[in-house]
């Protein structure tokens, strides 16, 4: 459905994406994960026919994105990062306008279907400019779903939605992804884990990892991390807990809490707690610290560096 090979885009001297190669099959939800400026939006804009690449080839739904751009655009539903809406139009009129530009037969039915899919039937006659951010996002999504596209490209689809709506939208994307191809970008890791069949992590325009969310998780979580907080100064506690076997990298944080890593095979937390209490400290808090996206990137780049000499 989506085939990309050697895709490169330069903005002047800056290289936004560098030699990307990947594919997405029908019935697959492919997640694009990466920090801001990693090249997610650029890649999506190229695939939707908004801008041509500097180098490389790509085809969407069997059509070349450069020479058959109009055919590609007919078959792609696209929700850009900044939702493109006309504030002076009603939601219904806006979708009708898009339906007419796409030459849809039974345009009115298509609009009604799309509004129903995103749960906005009741606000169809309201001005788009008066809608809340989450509702605007959903109208934008309705616009992308209007023509029941073969390929759906969504740039940060759940941004600006409240938690209830996020669940709804994810459910919707999951449903669509069963038959069609979905490429979505996000920088929310749990979202990618829940939704995607496959995740691609992109950083500085390059793919740094590509796998199923489960595999990726397993590869990344080599060590778990926890933080401990006691009443008073924890510096005297530090040497004591450093003696525990299986505990690594214990350090004192600037806010007075202790941070430490341990292997998932041996949970040292009960021992840490016991030592703290025995040493006469009042234990206030002991919690697991999740891995943030930034740390995953650090982890990934570190992995790449150590992996390189082996492969050569």
């Amino acid at each position: 459905m989506i085939q990309v090979s050697g895709l490169t885009k330069d903005y002047g001297a800056r290289r936004a994406i560098d030699n990307l190669t990947f594919e997405a099959k029908q019935g697959e939800i492919l997640g694009f994960l990466g920090p801001n400026g990693a090249g997610k939006t650029t890649t999506m804009r190229i695939l939707t026919g908004y801008m041509p690449p500097t180098r490389g080839e790509a085809s969407v739904a069997g059509f070349d994105i450069i020479s058959e751009s109009l055919e590609v655009r007919k078959r792609v539903g696209y929700l850009p990062e900044t939702v493109p809406l006309y504030p002076d139009m009603t939601a219904f009129d806006y979708l009708m306008y898009m339906a007419q530009l796409r030459h849809l037969e039974n345009a009115e039915d298509c609009v009604d279907d799309a509004l129903e899919m995103v749960g906005m039937e009741e606000r169809a006659d309201g001005l788009v400019g008066k809608l809340s951010k989450g509702m605007k996002q959903r109208i934008g999504l309705a616009q992308a779903l209007l023509h029941k596209p073969e390929v759906l490209i969504l740039d940060e689809p759940s941004i600006g939605l409240d938690p209830g709506q996020v669940v709804e939208v994810r459910k919707l994307i999951k449903n669509i992804g069963q038959e069609r191809t979905v490429l979505l970008s996000t920088h929310v890791l749990p979202e990618a884990q829940q939704l995607c069949d496959r995740v691609m992590i992109i950083n500085k325009g390059q793919i740094v990892a590509e796998d199923t969310p489960g595999n990726l998780q397993a590869r990344l979580v080599g060590a778990e991390r926890a933080s401990l907080r006691v009443r008073g100064k924890a510096d005297k506690l530090l040497p004591k807990i450093q003696q525990i076997k299986g505990l690594e990298n214990a350090s004192l944080d600037s806010d007075g809490s202790l941070q430490f890593h341990f292997s998932p095979k041996k949970d040292v937390r009960p021992e840490v707690a016991k030592i703290a209490v025995n040493a006469g400290f009042d234990l206030l808090e002991l919690k697991a610290v999740g891995m943030s996206l930034e740390e995953i990137f650090l982890e990934l780049t570190r992995e790449e560096k150590t992996a390189e000499p082996e492969s050569e």
Binding site: Y50, E71, R73, L101, R102
Partner: protein
């Protein structure tokens, strides 16, 4: 074709919910009404002494001047606003050719002004009632054809310039400057040079109107001039959108 029409229809509808369009519409009719009233009244008083009979150029020539000032306000938002609102991304990823987009925008603006021009027909009709033996219809239609062609070129240039900006005000002033340049200033060297200044005289927008259609004379050359200028504007608009993609 269908896309051009869809885009034009939306633009046309949008004018009727924007204040600027109503201001232009109202001012236009008011000023034309005053000009009409003053002329007819003046002529009727002078008529006692065997004075002149007013013709429709007072309407058409005034309209051309007012469109020169208002066309930039009509076209300024056409593509600039799409750029500002981010909806350009929507249009450029919809199955619509760039040229269809620009043509649709131009047509929407043209249809709006056409509506206005149709409304001004009330003045020639009244003049026909007030004068004996009535007005020269061929002369009037020639003038109106001239207005349509001039407006077409104004809007073509305006839409082309609107494509280069994401700020409406910048688009407005640039268009106004270019129109003033093409209408008046470019002809100035012709007067200074006398012989040898024919090129400037040819380029000047106003000679193709005042020297022909405003006088009831229709030349193919003038029609081609205005249509070329319109196409040039639309072409520039298309190219500038294309360039935005490559940027």
């Amino acid at each position: 074709m269908r896309n051009i029409w869809t885009i034009a229809r939306r633009e046309y509808d949008l004018y009727f919910i924007s204040p600027i369009a109503y201001i232009i519409l109202f001012t236009m009719m008011l000023v034309l009404g005053i000009i009409f009233g003053v002329n007819v009244l003046g002529a009727s008083q002078a008529g006692v002494f065997g004075g002149y009979v007013p013709d429709t150029t007072m309407i058409t020539n005034s309209m051309v001047f007012m469109f020169l000032l208002s066309a930039p306000a009509i076209t300024m938002r056409l593509l600039a606003d799409e750029q500002r609102m981010g909806t350009m991304e929507l249009l450029l990823t919809a199955p619509v050719r760039d040229v269809e987009l620009v043509l649709g925008k131009w047509l929407g603006a043209f249809m709006f002004i056409l509506t206005l021009i149709v409304m001004t027909l009330v003045f020639p009709l009244m003049l026909n009632q007030f004068t004996v033996p009535g007005i020269d219809w061929k002369f009037m239609l020639s003038g109106y054809l001239g207005v349509l062609l001039v407006v077409s070129a104004f809007l073509g240039i305006g839409v082309g310039i609107s494509s280069m900006f994401s700020n409406q005000i910048a688009a407005f002033f640039t268009t106004l400057i270019v129109l003033v340049l093409l209408w008046w200033l470019i002809g100035a060297p012709a007067n200074l040079l006398g012989k040898g200044g024919e090129l400037f005289d040819y380029l000047s927008m106003q000679t193709h109107y005042y020297d022909s259609m405003a006088q009831g004379k229709i030349f193919l050359e003038d029609i081609i001039y205005y249509l070329s200028l319109t196409s040039l504007g639309i072409f520039i608009g298309t190219i500038s959108i294309e360039l935005r993609r490559w940027r």
